[in-house]
Symmetry: C3
Subunit: 371 residues, 3 copies
């Protein structure tokens, strides 16, 4: 039942802007795949050394290869940046989820809500009072959108997304399954200083907190998500306490990431799965936060920085920092620490040798003294 | 369309219990904001040194400041505990999500279920057989509540929450988007000892586990959530195997936290985002687990302890412990380790100096010996 | 209202295959519980030293005990592998969630979809075009199933699960609350090398990335989940870029785990809560990934390996490896590092002693030289 699409190698070469080395009987291309999974109508993607090697045993009659790679007996398209070419080819075969224009009869759309042209509202979606949705935006089943939230054009929200009140979402925003935008910030206060406040001052936990009541600080700030942002499955972006939490344009957030209240995340950042960003952090533009990294609250990270996987960032870093470890340090310092460990190891060996000599020598001295 | 609220500075001062220093033409307060975002009808919140500095360039005519701070040319309210005052002020402007009393026609409520007074059941909610819901509880769209689950009064469940069978939830419980309460515990058994059981004994992985079948241990325990608990977006609290998993009153759990089967979490704990608590842990009262910390199974942590971010706790800790590192140690030991590293570094430098002298000296000795 | 079940001790002993030591007036068993929570009709589960001790103060008249344990004045059943016996006993008392056969009137099932015998489709479920669901599979409320997804027999999907297009799911698969199967992979490309690509080569971040646009690489691969797999609450398994992401038969995945695009996870693995597996990893059979462990992309881990909690795996490991630390190393090396730290500590103490002697000695030498 899947729609079949086919392309000539000339058409494909036009799309990827490569060099076509065509031998006789070049096939019609109906799919793309790694060499091992290719058939006669597959364009084999041989982007790495290993995959190029796999071409020898492949059924493919045509392959996409890096610039400068030639392969006898096969039609090839050489490209300078294979991953970019792959992206363009995937678009040829990609079929987005069904999202028919119109409002599904089971959806609950508040009469006050304003829907643009060609909007798709799926089954069992709830659209609250005062919501506005731009043209061509598609919302899959079981999504909830809270009061007065504004959504731009050409957005695509997958099933089960939950969006709170007063959220502002730009154009071309993609949100994956079950992500939460605009849950309350994790923000509380006690009438008197709590154990953490005291421990910071005293270095140990003193006092009696038995009777201390915890009050929730509600969030009257919201979330602003700018154009071209993507947010991963079951990720959470909390609303701000008073100001908004902001995700600037082009930033990509992976599954299960936590962005806490008041954070400002810059443009074109890449935030990999399971990263946790505590409250009120300032992330510059084009910052990469690798998987499972954590940032303490009120941390500032300069533009073009890279925080490596599982790092725990507890202080601010300037632009163009490479940051690693828990607690995190600049990469140079981290490498110095590793070198230092080796140096200690080497010196210990030497010390053992001297120790033997010294034992002998001081032994002699002592013997002399005794004499 | 947003409802506008306004207050005199006297009204606000009454609420926060501060010292009002009023100059002429004190404004009506229609909103609160940091100094930089303030207009003439804003009460600027200048709670930190930095924000107090920002008052100089602010359009605000009135500010909330810490006790003892005076600011010329502006009406101020001085308060002893600014964060507490902020919480009270936010409540003046907070608007909870719409949750009209009654059952939305698209909701599916089992005829056996008992709903209290003023309950709100949103669109596409499913309420199973035998459920009981207390007065004034509000349940937003797309929530699922399993068989025989009992929910107290004044609870607020945000959209997309999933609650299993036989769960007991107290009063004033808040659950954020997409949280899971009462999924099955991650509990399995094999007929013969598995690789982990053997590795613990032998220190390496021996034996052939090819034919070993894994059996699921179902969960016949449930989850008990006491009064005043809050559970964050997409967090998960699993049901107990035989006994219940318990979250005691007043405890706050942040987004994406995992509380495994059989855990007992005490009162007024703060469990920050992405913390993972393995099966059968015992957490005392007022324990703080900072972001991304992890606890191995069957761990006990005494009351009033603080586990620092990203720590990995593999043994029990007494009350009032401050715990850090992976594997986690008391904070004092952690600091000793850091000091020790410095000491090693210093001694290595010294050793290098002695080494030069010794090389010279032993060299001489050897020469003498040779003579 | 809960259904009551009861068993004789003989019936129970037949099920667990133990040794029944019956004294007079052995009770009818209506429930199982730890000794402290037991009443006269409870079979007390005394599986550990501590629980056996608790039998002395228990109201139980019968207990399940490990082989070789005798307990005067109580009927006991001795078993060789208590946890296995417990699993069998729990099945006696377990009641699965209600899932009546048939399609709930509020569910939205595409007319093209094919449902097997005895299928249960709950309230507000959406089943898309081309979906096939095998016999006896049960789907609880608010689940979304995308286009052309095939689901086997005897599956059980809990509430709020989101499943994308073209997914293949085998028989006996259990998916817990809110899990996401088949969200898009986190895969992007820029026209020219980005900061990470350059940093890998240069060791620092050079160049200007201001104008660099990020392109999404869509996922035309899917997800294959084989028989007997379980996937935890709010876990996410992303679709492959071109090939499929694969979870092989019998593997169990806990809550909040992330399995990224293109990963191949072997048979009968145990992947504990909050583990993150980056793109294109190859996990062998029967591999254990303990809580919060992380794997970098393209990592291969051999069968029967154990990755310990919070480890950060950045290189490949052979079968039967025990892996620990961040960056992760074989357990033997980790222990060597711990020993080495102790050794350093010891040698430093010794060095201090020699230092005193050397100071004295070189001091003397210098005095002599001066003379």
């Amino acid at each position: 039942m899947k729609e079949e699409r086919s392309y000539t190698l000339e058409q494909i070469n036009d799309i990827v802007g490569g060099i076509l080395n065509k031998i006789d009987s070049a096939p019609i291309i109906k799919r793309i795949a790694p060499p091992k999974l290719a058939d006669e109508n597959t364009l084999a993607l041989a982007l790495s050394e290993e995959e190029i090697e796999n071409l020898y045993s492949s059924n493919a009659k045509a392959a996409l290869v890096p610039l400068g790679v030639s392969f006898e007996g096969m039609t090839t398209i050489e490209v300078e940046r294979p991953r970019l070419a792959m992206m363009k080819l995937i678009h040829l075969f990609y079929m987005p989820p069904d999202a028919p224009v119109g409002v599904h009869p089971s959806a609950v759309v508040h009469p006050d809500a304003k829907l643009g042209q060609n909007v798709s509202i799926g089954a069992n979606v709830t659209i609250s009072r005062g919501v506005e949705i731009g043209d061509n935006t598609k919302i899959l089943p079981n999504v909830y959108i809270g009061r007065n939230t504004k959504i731009g054009q050409n957005c695509f929200f997958h099933a089960g997304v939950n969006i709170g009140d007063d959220i502002q979402i730009g154009n071309n925003v993609i949100i994956q399954h079950g992500a939460s935008i605009g849950a309350d910030g994790f923000s509380f206060v006690t009438e008197t200083p709590n154990s953490i406040e005291n421990a910071k001052q005293e270095g140990s936990i003193q006092g009696d907190y038995n009777q201390q009541r915890i009050f929730k600080i509600p969030s009257i700030g919201s979330v602003v998500i700018e154009d071209d942002v993507e947010i991963g499955a079951n990720a959470t972006v909390d609303r701000g306490t008073i100001e908004n939490t902001v995700i600037k344009k082009g930033t990509k957030i992976d599954n299960l990431v936590m962005v806490s209240h008041n954070c400002k995340v810059g443009e074109n950042c890449m935030i990999v799965s399971q990263v946790g960003i505590a409250g009120s952090c300032q992330i510059g533009d084009r910052v990469v936060l690798a998987g499972q990294a954590g940032l303490a609250d009120h941390i500032s990270i300069g533009s073009d920085s890279i925080v490596m996987a599982q790092s725990g960032v507890t202080k601010n870093f300037a632009p163009r920092s490479i940051i690693v470890g828990s607690p995190a340090v600049p990469r140079k310092e981290f490498i110095r620490q590793l070198k230092y460990t080796k140096e200690v190891s080497e010196l210990l060996k030497q010390f053992k040798q001297y120790k033997d000599k010294l034992d002998q020598y001081f032994g002699e001295i002592e013997e002399k003294t005794e004499v």
